[in-house]
Amino acid sequence: MYKGQSGMLAWLFHRITGLGVLLFLLIHIVDISLLGFGPNIYNQGIALFGTPIVRIISLALIGAVFYHAFNGIRIMLIDFVPQAVRYQRSMFWAAMTLTIVCFIPIAFFVIGPIFGLNTGNTASGM
């Protein structure tokens, strides 16, 4: 466990984002299983992901995935690189910065269509 020593806040965010992403994963396995019920039922289910409210929830979730991934790299560096623990605090801010840097462009793609932005890729089939 990483309580206290290597960044309580980093640890807490890692746990919360992990639980959030896991909850989505369980829902996502069920919604993808609608494939087995044919095109109409599947498309009705997936159409929900295009609604504004689910786009905003998806964006929050994608932010959680980015934080969990970058902080996960920080944890592995602390675990496997000697002396890396000395830089755990700056690596936490690096993980936060990378999360925000990745979050902004993907926000454009995920919630842009709500505002009529970025409708170009809605026409692509693949």
Binding site: M1, Y2, K3, G4, Q5, S6, R15, G18, L19, V21, L22, L25, L26, I29, V30, I32, S33, L35, G36, G38, P39, Y42, N43, I46, A47, L48, F49, G50, T51, R55, S58, I62, V65, A69, G72, I73, I75, M76, I78, D79, F80, V81, P82, Q83, A84, V85, I106, F109, V110, P113, N118, T119, N121, T122, A123, S124, G125, M126
Partner: protein
Amino acid sequence: MRFSTGYGPRPAGGGFETFSWYFMRITAIGLIFLVIIHLFINHVTTDVACTSYQLVAGRYANPYWRVYDWLLLTLALLHGMNGLRVVVDDYVQTGAWRIRIQSLLALIALALFMVGTITLITFQPVAGFLGPHCLHP
């Protein structure tokens, strides 16, 4: 309480917890690539409103996409549910409740693994539902 110091971070003993410690890190490395590519192809190169049955049918015509999604399903589910197991270890005080809750979690993981695997293996596109198609809510 164990701390990650960079010198001796692994749970000692070589038992299940040591395996779990390595398992989380190995699956994490795989998942970083699998998840980022997954997000990119379903939210950036294609809008999520276009990830229709027709799109999936086209993608799953190539069996490697089914293998890709099966790896994503398996690694994410095991990594996530093992994480939840550790959370239960942290907050559930009595041994009997730990066993009950963790057994239930294991059953949920197994059931969802089977649902996902069956979906991926048995998918056969319905004729006439191929080609570009976007859903407009």
